[in-house]
């Protein structure tokens, strides 16, 4: 299919793409910045190219360095994952110039949907309703303020060049408008390099539902069911599930038809996701196009779990110019899947991202459990990139089975040395509103107190202390057996070095079968 695929990304998605390539027997090459020399994605690929300094602008966001790395590694195709350059039309354009295949849609399609204003026009052209709002031609503060007042409060200011929830600013009333426009513009410039804004009415308690499509060059547009991504914090998805619970068959069919319509009308190619806000769950529910993401989504595993399609394989097939080998009936979703995003962040501290070193790491496994991750014990979580560490996906015959599996598996997940949102994820999964599928995008904010507060019981605290004493005494016995005098506890800060070298650093005190 391809001689070698350069994976122009890092973290869990780079590891995940490498996995499918390995399955298909396609060699891969990783890229890495100064901050990622020892990262897991580098080890997951057959070759690796250093592409620059830690800041993304000097490495993962540099089209020139990615193209150079592809040439240096002998790659003939480039997969950009999500984030970074995945939706920057200059990458496929540069790939075409360099004679490389970009695994994704053509540059002009990415460019069209990359401008959210043009995306709204494309959806309207395809006969699909968009969220009420405006795309002011006059981009002065006064022009945007006028469009905002026409739309009505509350509303959301969004960067036209943005996406993925970055840089969105909610405006409750006119008093906030001036400062909000300035802030939205700053964030738009910072995250997308383009200050163009548009306005959308803020729909009360909407659900965020998206439809996965894959289109080949032979006229086939497959829709792979929908995902509900309503559990969000700060417009960032936290838990996703497929299918979206509680939708009437009529609404589900309307969503699928609208998604295929947008893709067909745009001559779409490769994998893409059409996002909608829905207001209600019945046949006549409001159903508004939000945007189309022209890349592999973070939450693609749940679609893979219910359809059996490997979406990265589908992307490679389409990019190689081959027809998709599946019929609609073959990929009809079965069962239910739930994905939880494990972030290095502090939910009790306003979800501030955490950076540092992972001192201990353990992933759960079991029936229906899939973990996509980009870290392991000793991994650095640099300040420069997104704080997503891993995705835990659970599949089941029913939503309830998938939910219970995810909840149990998260209880086995351990990330030590950094704050994570694992506890919050478990609490969301156990919350009555989530159990009964009563989710909307304000769910986390509404139930924050119940989800974040609370203290563990004394029995758990006692168990933790007992475990600490047991590990401590085991360690003391080992070190005193190993090196006699001076066998003190390892000095502070040595945890990671120890974790990396493991038993070999204290070989004298170690024997097989030691319990």
């Amino acid at each position: 299919m391809f001689t070698r695929v350069l994976i122009a990304n890092r973290g869990e998605i780079a590891v995940r793409i490498a996995r499918t390539c390995r399955t298909l027997g396609i060699p891969t090459a990783a890229v890495f910045s100064d901050a990622d020399r020892n990262a897991r994605h580098v080890a997951a690929c057959g070759a690796a190219v250093h592409i620059g300094a830690a800041p993304a602008s000097e490495s993962y966001l540099s089209v020139g360095r990615i193209i150079d790395a592809a040439r240096a590694s002998g790659a003939d195709a480039v997969h950009a994952g999500y984030g970074f350059l995945s939706e920057d039309p200059s990458l496929p354009a540069a790939c075409a110039d360099a004679g490389l295949t970009f695994i994704g849609p053509p540059a002009e399609v990415i460019a069209r949907f990359g401008s959210k204003i043009n995306a709204r026009r494309a959806a309207r052209d395809a006969g699909v309703q968009v969220v009420p709002g405006g795309e002011p031609a006059d981009q002065s503060e006064a022009g945007i303020a006028a469009a905002a007042r026409r739309t009505g409060f509350p509303l959301i200011l969004k960067p036209s060049a943005g996406g993925g929830g970055k840089g969105m600013v909610t405006v409750r009333d006119d008093d906030e408008l001036a400062e909000s426009i300035a802030r939205a513009r700053r964030e738009a410039l910072a995250t997308a390099g383009d200050g163009t804004l548009y306005v959308e009415r803020r729909i009360a308690r909407p659900r965020h539902v998206e439809v996965q499509v894959v289109a080949d060059r032979h006229g086939s547009v497959l829709q792979l069911g929908e995902r509900d991504c309503s559990t969000q914090r700060r417009h960032q998805k936290v838990i996703e599930e497929s299918p979206a619970p509680g939708l009437s068959p009529g609404l589900r069919a309307r969503l699928a038809a609208a998604a295929v319509g947008v893709a067909r009308h745009a001559s779409y190619e490769n994998a893409g996701t059409v996002e909608f806000l829905i207001d209600g769950t019945g046949d006549d529910a409001g159903c508004y196009f939000l945007e189309m993401n022209t890349r592999l989504q973070v939450e693609h595993p749940i679609t893979e779990l219910v359809t059996g399609v490997d979406l990265v394989e589908a992307q490679l097939i389409v990019a190689a110019g081959r027809p998709l080998p599946w019929s609609a009936a073959e990929v009809a979703p079965r069962g239910h899947a739930i994905e939880c995003r494990v972030y290095a962040e502090d939910p009790a501290g306003d979800y501030l991202p955490q950076a540092g070193t992972i001192a201990g790491y353990h992933e759960p496994s079991g029936p229906g459990i899939r973990v996509d991750s980009g870290v392991s014990t000793g991994s650095d979580v640099p300040v420069h990139y997104d704080p997503l560490l891993a995705k835990l996906a659970a599949a089941g015959r029913t939503r309830e089975q998938a939910r219970r599996r995810a909840h149990a598996a998260l209880g086995e997940f351990a990330v030590l040395g950094l704050q994570t949102n694992i506890r919050l994820l478990r609490r969301v999964l156990a919350h009555e509103a989530f159990v009964t599928s009563d989710v909307h995008t304000g769910f986390l904010a509404d139930h924050e107190k119940a989800l974040i507060g609370g203290e563990p019981d004394e029995v758990t605290l006692a168990a933790i202390a007992a475990a600490a004493s047991a590990v401590q005494s085991k360690h003391n016995r080992r070190t005193s057996a190993g090196s006699g005098a001076g066998a003190d506890r390892h000095p502070p800060g040595d945890a990671v070095r120890d974790a990396r070298t493991g038993v070999w650093s204290r070989l004298a005190g170690w024997r097989l079968g030691d319990r």
């Binding site: 009790a348 501030l352 694992i422 758990t460 006692a462 004493s469």
Partner: protein, 186 residues
């Protein structure tokens, strides 16, 4: 040369901290656990089902818990059932006698100046909007940080005058690092 028992730990989860004393039995497989002190103290028995350098299975009060641990300073980071804990060695005389041993203490005491505004997370300084001498109102933005594609404004908690700016644009700052010192208006 097993260390003398009992061991005293300060176990913290979120905002809650409890002092816990562990007394080893004849072998290390059974521990007496005492939570709290004085009349409120509660005693539990814990059996160590298995123990490796990073995982310990504890049977206690009719349930079994898998605890994952990683050494940190003179204690551990730990997780069980999706909850995160820190375990610190707590000396007999109380936490104060032990404070000097904490490797993070030096960093923390840097922020002890109540008028210094510190970085809440690892971040890059993206803009500084004030200089020494600037008079600010409560809520005024003093500087902006950027981390993981997010913008965060550091705002004045009270009216006052900026006495010093401790960072430059582009600096990578760690949590607790003082950024700006404010002399609050009296």
């Amino acid at each position: 040369m097993t260390e003398p028992r009992p061991e005293r730990w300060l176990v913290t989860c979120g905002a809650a901290s409890r002092r816990i004393r562990c007394l080893g039995g004849a072998d290390d497989a059974v521990l007496e656990i005492e939570i709290g002190g004085g009349d409120a103290a509660r005693t539990l028995t814990a059996a160590i089902v298995s123990c490796s350098e990073d995982t310990c299975v504890v049977a206690i009060a009719g349930q079994s818990l898998v605890v994952r641990l990683a050494a940190r300073g003179d204690g551990f980071d730990a997780m069980a059932d999706g909850e995160t804990f820190t375990v610190e060695g707590a000396a007999e005389a109380g936490p104060a006698a032990h404070a000097g041993d904490d490797p993070n203490e030096a960093e923390r005491s840097e922020t002890a100046d109540p008028d210094a505004l510190a970085a809440p997370m690892p971040a890059a300084v993206s803009a500084i909007l004030v200089q020494p001498g600037t008079v600010v109102e409560a809520g005024d933005t003093l500087l902006r940080l950027e981390a993981m594609k997010m913008e965060l404004a550091i705002r004045a908690p009270s009216p006052g005058r900026v006495t010093s700016v401790e960072c430059r644009v582009g600096d990578l700052v760690q949590p607790g690092r003082p950024l700006v010192t404010l002399d609050p208006a009296r």
